[in-house]
């Protein structure tokens, strides 16, 4: 083992020690981050999910639904956070709105594609049975679109949790506070917090995947993990 390797190993041991020494502090920061992420995701869901589902049901506005995710990908998270900071001031609200904008793309695109992409034959059969538009949406289109819609929500959630540390630069709090403050926490703290951020987003990913499988109708489970049209936005 070279000297450099030994130094690296040492840094990671220190990072591990930092995590071991400050579990309560890190847990508080992680909760702060989850709170911000949860609020942002909720805001995005309230705005984007109904729009995507209704547009998908009507088979209208595909350019809006798909364009949102393309524009969303072109907006760097740092730019969004900084821009909202200048409008809404420092703190929770500006970060929540900036992260919600990031989450809107995948949710809107996938809920549109999910509902609009339901097998035409199934919809025609339901109409033939005398179902109204609203019944078709509730009993046919929504259950069949769950895999795709939920994939969009999962992608958005992981994106938001993974981006939230960047919000620390605009008073967002959370584990990012430690990562951007090497002067106080030194490299060991920065690395320890980075490891926690990784663990947190992996945990969110796994939990939502489990939830997704649980809410998917049994007949559709095979396709649950299929491709999604709005690929994850890398943060």
């Amino acid at each position: 083992m070279t000297l450099a390797d030994a130094a690296n190993l040492h840094t990671f041991v220190d990072a591990g020690r930092f995590v071991g020494d400050h579990p309560g502090f890190l847990a508080t920061k992680a909760l702060e981050q989850l709170e911000l992420s949860g609020a942002a995701l909720a805001l995005a869901l309230v705005v984007a999910l109904p729009v995507g589902v209704v547009l998908g049901h009507l088979h209208r506005g595909s350019s809006v639904a798909i364009g949102t995710s393309i524009v969303g990908r072109a907006l760097p998270s740092l730019v969004l956070i900084a821009a909202f900071l200048t409008i809404l001031g420092i703190g929770f609200v500006n970060n929540m709105v900036a992260l919600a904008v990031l989450a809107t793309g995948p949710i809107l695109t996938n809920s549109f594609e999910g509902v609009a992409g339901v097998d035409r034959d199934a919809v025609e059969a339901a109409r033939g049975m005398g179902m109204t538009g609203r019944q078709i949406l509730r009993r046919v289109e929504l259950p069949l679109s769950i895999p795709l819609v939920f994939t969009g929500i999962r992608v958005a959630a992981v994106t938001v949790v993974a981006t939230a540390p960047i919000a620390a630069i605009a008073g967002g709090g959370g584990l990012g506070d430690i990562i951007v403050n090497q002067a106080s926490y030194r490299l060991a703290g920065v690395l320890g917090a980075s490891l926690c951020v990784m663990a947190l987003s992996a945990a969110v990913f796994v939990c939502l995947l489990g939830l997704q499988i649980a809410v998917t109708p049994r007949g559709l489970r095979r396709t649950t993990l299929g491709d999604d049209p709005a690929r994850k936005e890398l943060t």
Binding site: R73, A82, L85, T86, V161, A162, I166, L187, L195, M198
Partner: protein, 233 residues
């Protein structure tokens, strides 16, 4: 590029001192020392990452296309990488490669690789079986099959992957400013460190980043039109 030591409010026009919504004068005055260099660095960071990522992904995809052993390990690698936030990945590489461009590029290349590899593999497999049969029947060798049938048919998928990779990389490269005074993220970073965030710097650097992403995306769409005139979208 000047550091964050001296607040920009003490100097410049009344617009800058008052931190009005947008001061075109500041952009003109600081194009040469701040915005221009940051834009060039941003293009460099992106070009290197996408270039290396594309070559690696292309070679790996060619291997995976013939021998199907690569896909499962790659799937695990990409699933892991997807959940690692870029800021955390940058920091975790610092003990190995320091606060250098190398650190940033390793992270950016990993992300482009994860985007491009599945797209290229899917593209290479998009040739319909009867087309492949016909080509074999005409006596094409395996290599000719690749260069004359499979690769041309893979171009739309490859360009589709490149569009996502380029736009994502431009976005992630702004985060590099947390480590290095480089790229369009840095002016934003500096502006946020001011006692009150300096709006003109945030808006101009942000607009350049978004403009760069949109320009590259449109250029790739145009490239696709030229390369695949038979398959317009």
């Amino acid at each position: 590029m000047s550091g964050p030591v001296i607040p920009k409010f003490g100097e410049g026009s009344s617009c800058v001192r008052g931190d009005h919504t947008f001061c075109p004068g500041w952009v003109r005055d600081h194009w040469n020392d701040t915005l221009g260099p940051a834009l060039v660095q941003h293009i460099e960071l992106t070009a290197i990452a996408v270039g290396i990522g594309f070559v690696l992904a292309f070679v790996l995809a060619l291997v995976a296309h013939r021998l199907r052993v690569l896909e499962q390990p790659f799937g695990i690698f990409s699933a892991l990488l997807y959940t690692i936030p870029s800021l955390a990945l940058f920091q975790l590489l610092v003990p190995f490669t320091g606060l250098t461009v190398t650190t940033v590029e390793i992270a950016l290349v990993s992300y482009t690789l994860v985007i491009l590899f599945p797209n290229i593999v899917a593209g290479l497999r998009s040739a319909p079986p009867d087309v492949l049969e016909a080509a074999r029947g005409m006596g094409l060798t395996q290599r000719q099959l690749l260069t004359r049938v499979e690769l041309p048919m893979a171009v739309p998928a490859i360009i589709g992957g490149l569009r996502i990779a380029v736009v994502s990389t431009i976005s992630i490269a702004t985060i590099a400013a947390f480590l290095l005074p480089q790229g369009l993220g840095y002016p934003i970073f500096v502006a946020l460190k001011e006692p009150t965030p300096f709006k003109t710097e945030i808006y101009s650097a942000g607009a350049l980043a978004v403009g760069l992403a949109i320009t590259c995306d449109l250029a790739l769409v145009a490239l696709r039109r030229v390369l695949v005139p038979w398959n317009r979208v």
